[in-house]
Each structure stands twice: as structure tokens, then as C-alpha cells.
């Protein structure tokens, strides 16, 4: 393709360029309308006075009061720090708890045991159900009068009759438990990678006396590190962005606000909508996403180095 004779190129080249442009145009158009323009809007208006009083005409603060919205978010808005703390915790839990669980189960699912195909299929089922529906199901499980969590707590504490979703502390734990164990899709991605490890390597490890868990730890896991890094970023990001669980389980009560919940409340659901301030929070969310990628990459590069020594 590269060494095509030059004579023909002018006519063919035109056609080629036309084809490339025509095929790229729809996607690039969508990118501009749906990503580029909104991001620029978010960035610019996070420095503007823009709320329910001037819906159609955002007003630049001027260079002196540039950080007005951010100031308000950091110092006056009552739920920001709570939300940031929670979202950060969920991001960490995603990478530190969810990924090890997903990996362990993927390792178990990679063995040749009777009925393994059945377990593989069943384990994905919760991930096929929308998180909104899972939220409603868990709301019922946690219900103090007919759920199944309160009877379990009552085994240890006879007089317990509160709803755990209304207690500060337990509410956070309960919400985390409502999604953290459903690692089906992540597990499958890891499992795919484990199965792609060449059989010869495993056999060689067996001859060296490494079998079972030992083999997993020293042979398999180092070989799938690339995938583990990717799914860690995905898990941490989705933990940071948690919204549906917050909405369906507590609506932010008992100290369970998340960053996404704050943005939606400021921008849409509150009677005194504050778009400028919502977009300031959105900027922080975008930045946090980048921080997550950097931190995860850094941690994984550390463990690479350790291996070399």
C-alpha cells in the first residue's frame, strides 16, 4: 500500500482522503458534541457565576474572584468533603478489595473441577442485572422488618431494631457491601487472561515443583499484571463515580454522599440549581480520575521494579 506508483496517486489519493474523512466524520462529530464541547463548558463555567438566577447567561467572575465557586465548594458547601472522602474510600476499596476478590475467584474458576462451567455462568448473573435493580433488592435485604440482615445482627445483639442504612458508619459499610462482591465482569476479564497463559509455562512450572497456589502466586499472577492494572483502574474509577447505590439506598443520608451525587444535586435536583458550582465539582472529579490512573500506574510500576531486584 505504501509503495503505490506516484502517477496514479493524485486521483486515487483524492478518493482515499475523501473516504478517510467520510468514515471518520461521524465519530469525530460525536466526540466534539458529546465530549469536547461539554468539557470546555465545564472548565469555563466553573469560573462563572451561573445558577438559577441567570440560567441563560453565565457570568465570568473576573480574575480577582476567579476561584469563587471553588471557594464555596471547599469552605461553605456542607457535603463536599464528606463526598470526596467517601468517593476516595470507594475508589481505594475498588482497587484493594474488589480486584483481589476478582483475582482469587478467577484463579479458582481457571481450574479443571467438575461443574466449573456452571459456576462461571452463575457468577456473572448479578452483573447482568442493572445496578439500579440491585440497589432496590439490597434496600429490601436491609429492611429492618422483613430483610435478612437484621435477623443476623440480632444473633449477636438481641435488641437491635434500627435500619442499618440510617446509622452513620454502618450505612457506609452496608452500601459498599451492596456492590463490592459482584465482580463478575472483572473476574471474566482476568480469567480470559489466565487461560491465555501458554500451557507449556504451567507444565514447566509443575516440573519445577510449583503447583497449585504456589504456581498461581509466582507464575500466573506476574504474567497477568497488565490486565490487573487495567481492571484496577476501572474498578477504582467506577468506585469513585458511585451514584446509583447512593440514590437507591440512602439518598445521601447518614454520611453517604458521593461526588457524583453532589454534582447531580447541585446541577439538577436542587430547587436552587447552581450550575457553575456543580461544574467546579465536575472539574475536581475529572482531575481525580487522572490521579487514579497515575496512582495505580505508579503502584504497579513499583511492583515491577521489586521483581527485577
Amino acid at each position: 500500500m505504501v509503495n503505490r506508483p506516484k502517477k496514479k496517486k493524485s486521483k486515487l489519493g483524492m478518493r482515499r482522503t475523501g473516504f478517510i474523512i467520510a468514515f471518520l466524520a461521524p465519530t469525530l462529530f460525536v466526540f466534539c458534541v458529546f465530549y469536547l464541547y461539554p468539557i470546555i463548558t465545564v472548565f469555563v463555567t466553573s469560573f462563572c457565576k451561573w445558577d438559577y438566577t441567570n440560567i441563560t447567561s453565565p457570568e465570568f467572575f473576573g480574575w480577582n474572584d476567579l476561584w469563587n465557586n471553588y471557594n464555596y465548594i471547599f469552605n461553605k458547601y456542607p457535603f463536599f468533603w464528606e463526598a470526596l472522602k467517601n468517593s476516595t474510600k470507594w475508589a481505594i476499596v475498588g482497587a484493594v478489595v474488589q480486584i483481589p476478590i476478582a483475582t482469587l475467584i478467577a484463579l479458582a474458576l481457571s481450574r479443571k473441577v467438575k461443574g466449573i462451567k456452571f459456576v462461571r455462568i452463575v457468577y456473572i448473573i448479578p452483573n447482568m442485572i442493572s445496578t439500579a435493580a440491585m440497589g432496590v433488592i439490597f434496600l429490601q435485604l436491609y429492611n429492618p422488618s422483613y430483610g435478612i440482615i437484621n435477623p443476623i445482627i440480632r444473633l449477636f445483639n438481641k435488641d437491635f431494631s434500627d435500619s442499618i442504612l440510617l446509622l452513620k458508619g454502618p450505612a457506609f459499610v452496608a452500601m459498599t457491601c451492596a456492590y463490592i462482591f459482584f465482580t463478575g465482569t472483572t473476574t471474566l476479564m482476568i480469567l480470559g487472561n489466565i487461560m491465555a497463559v501458554p500451557e507449556e509455562i504451567r507444565e514447566a512450572a509443575m516440573l519445577d515443583g510449583a503447583s497449585g497456589l504456589k504456581q498461581d502466586l509466582h507464575i500466573t499472577i506476574p504474567m497477568i499484571k497488565g490486565t490487573l492494572k487495567t481492571v484496577s483502574v476501572l474498578a477504582a474509577t467506577s468506585g469513585f463515580l458511585l451514584y446509583n447505590e447512593v440514590y437507591f439506598l440512602t439518598k445521601g443520608a447518614a454520611g453517604t454522599y458521593s461526588i457524583s451525587y453532589v454534582i447531580r444535586e447541585l446541577a439538577i435536583t436542587s430547587p436552587r440549581t447552581q450550575f457553575g458550582r456543580a461544574n467546579a465539582v465536575a472539574m475536581i472529579q475529572i482531575l481525580a480520575g487522572m490521579v487514579i490512573i497515575l496512582v495505580v500506574s505508579f503502584v504497579y510500576s513499583l511492583s515491577y521494579k521489586k521483581e527485577k531486584h
Binding site: 500500500m1 505504501v2 478518493r15 482515499r16 478517510i20 468514515f23 471518520l24 461521524p26 465519530t27 458529546f34 461539554p38 468539557i39 463548558t41 465545564v42 475467584i105 479458582a108 474458576l109 481450574r111 473441577v113 459456576v119 462461571r120 455462568i121 452463575v122 457468577y123 456473572i124 448479578p126 447482568m128 442485572i129 442493572s130 445496578t131 439500579a132 435493580a133 432496590v136 433488592i137 429490601q140 435485604l141 422483613y146 435478612i148 435477623p151 471474566l188 476479564m189 480470559g192 509443575m206 503447583s211 497449585g212 497456589l213 451514584y243 446509583n244 440514590y247 461526588i259 454534582i263 447531580r264 439538577i268 456543580a278 465536575a282 472539574m283 472529579q285 475529572i286 480520575g289 487522572m290
Partner: protein, 286 residues
């Protein structure tokens, strides 16, 4: 054949006892986590009054009133129709669009190719919720608020990164000779793509389509944002009305939940082989 069989048995027997116990513990855990909430849900939906017999007690008599009213009073089929329409249309639009641009990026050299790659890759890390207000505003300005078209637009445009990379990777595996042969036979660029490459890449494109369809079917955030009229709601958006509308009719609530989660689960069970392969990158044959 026999050799393979022998190998299989060997791996099971050779597993150290600790590993064996550990494996079974993991498998039991996997089954418990995924099945207990669902079993509880189905059990509760069959009880006339879940309040009277909480937890895992078996119902004293099987009551299906809730199921009947889910279809008769809640008109649940209407919402399935909405979801199917919205998710189906948006998958169609986005997959056609992406399979075009992914082809150009995978197979042709042009200036700015790296930039296109980076731009599309970056969308994977831009949180949709951060763009809440600009997108909401855009929908309002286009006078699409509270229409299903708005949702189709949003779904077609979001999640392009995943589809793009799945489809592009598939294109990369198609031998270039096929294209060259088609070109020698006198096919134009567009014809080559439509008649030769597109049919070959169908499995990869199907994988992207299925993943996108599932995402769109289950999407709640935008659905609850742009749709207000009850008749237009998709299934996940309908759920937010549940927490109040069923007030004390728990039997009705549980039955409706079972019906609502059934289609994706049944669909998954039928096509599980396909799903497992798609999600694991083809290495695991389900």
C-alpha cells in the same frame, strides 16, 4: 484425544490438598454471593405477606397475585418495549459509526491518526457524571427533553471508547491480503469495506454490540435525568418510582422486581457461551 483426557485428570489429581480446599471455598463463595439475594427475592415474591414470614422462611402458600398485577396494572411490557427500542436503536447507530472509524484508524495511514486514537482513548476516562449539566443543557436546547430520542442520542455517543477498541482489535486480525485482492478485483474503498471487511469482522462487531446493548439496557443515570413522562420510562428509570409507589404492597414489589430482572438473566443464560467468550476476550470457551 486420549492424551488430552489423561492430562485433564492429571491436573485435578495433582492439585495439592490446600489448593483444592481453597478452590472449593472460592467456588462456594461465588455461588453464595450471586445466588442468595436472588433466591431470597424469588422466595419473598411468592409470599402473600413477606412481613409475616421474613427471611428465608418458606411461604405457607404460594401467592402469584403480585405477578398478575405486574403485567395487568403496572404494564411492565410497555417499559420493556421502551428499553428495547432505546437500547437497540442506539446500539445500531453507534456500532455502524464506530465500525467505520475504527476501520480507517486500523487500516489506513493518514496525518493526525495518533491524535484520533488518543482523543477516543481519553473518552474512557472522562466520567459521564462530570458532563451532567452541559449534556442536559444540550438536550434542552435541541428540544429533546423528555423524549426517547434524547436517550438514544446520549447512548449512541457515550461508551464509544470500548466499542472502538473491541472493533479495532478485530480489524487488526484480518489479513491484509483480503483487502488487496478485493482492490485488484476493482472494488473501491467503500465497497471493499462493505462487501469484504464488514462481513468478516462481524464477530468482533457483534461482541461490541452486545456489550453496548447490555450497558444501555441497564443504564440508569441518564434515563432518570431526561425522561419524566411515565409512559416513556425505560426499565431502570421505572425502578426509582418503586421505592414510593409500592408503599406497603411488598408482595407486588418483589414480584415486579423478579419480572424486571428476568429478561437480561434469561437472555444471558441462553447466550452465556457467547457472553463468556466476549467478556474474556475469547480465551474462555463457555
Amino acid at each position: 484425544m486420549t492424551l488430552k483426557k489423561f492430562k485433564k485428570e492429571k491436573t485435578v489429581k495433582d492439585m495439592p490438598i490446600g489448593t483444592k480446599i481453597f478452590t472449593y471455598l472460592c467456588l462456594i463463595w461465588a455461588l453464595t454471593v450471586s445466588l442468595v439475594p436472588l433466591i431470597w427475592l424469588v422466595l419473598s415474591s411468592l409470599k402473600k405477606d413477606p412481613m409475616a414470614r421474613p427471611g428465608f422462611q418458606l411461604p405457607d402458600s404460594i401467592c402469584i397475585d403480585g405477578y398478575i398485577s405486574t403485567f395487568r396494572d403496572l404494564h411492565v411490557l410497555r417499559y420493556f418495549g421502551n428499553s428495547l427500542f432505546v437500547a437497540g436503536m442506539s446500539v445500531l447507530i453507534s456500532v455502524v459509526m464506530i465500525s467505520m472509524s475504527a476501520y480507517v484508524v486500523a487500516r489506513m495511514e493518514f496525518r493526525g491518526k495518533a491524535l484520533v486514537n488518543i482523543l477516543l482513548y481519553s473518552t474512557m476516562f472522562i466520567p459521564a457524571t462530570a458532563l451532567t449539566y452541559p449534556v442536559y443543557n444540550l438536550i434542552n436546547n435541541l428540544h429533546l427533553y423528555d423524549t426517547r430520542a434524547a436517550l438514544i442520542l446520549i447512548y449512541s455517543c457515550s461508551g464509544i471508547a470500548v466499542s472502538f477498541f473491541v472493533i479495532k482489535n478485530y480489524y487488526n486480525n484480518i489479513p491484509r491480503e483480503l483487502e488487496e485482492a478485493a482492490r485488484i478485483d476493482g472494488c473501491g474503498y467503500f465497497q471493499t469495506w462493505l462487501m469484504v471487511i464488514f462481513p468478516i469482522a462481524r464477530p468482533g462487531i457483534m461482541t461490541a454490540a452486545v456489550l453496548a446493548f447490555l450497558n444501555n439496557w441497564n443504564e440508569y443515570y441518564w434515563a432518570s435525568l431526561v425522561l419524566i413522562t411515565r409512559e416513556k420510562l425505560t426499565v431502570p428509570a421505572l425502578l426509582s418510582t418503586f421505592t414510593t409507589s409500592f408503599n406497603t404492597n411488598y408482595n407486588g414489589l418483589f414480584s415486579a422486581m423478579v419480572v424486571i430482572i428476568l429478561p437480561p438473566v434469561v437472555l444471558y443464560c441462553i447466550f452465556s457461551k457467547f457472553f463468556v467468550e466476549a467478556l474474556s476476550g475469547g480465551a474462555v470457551k463457555g
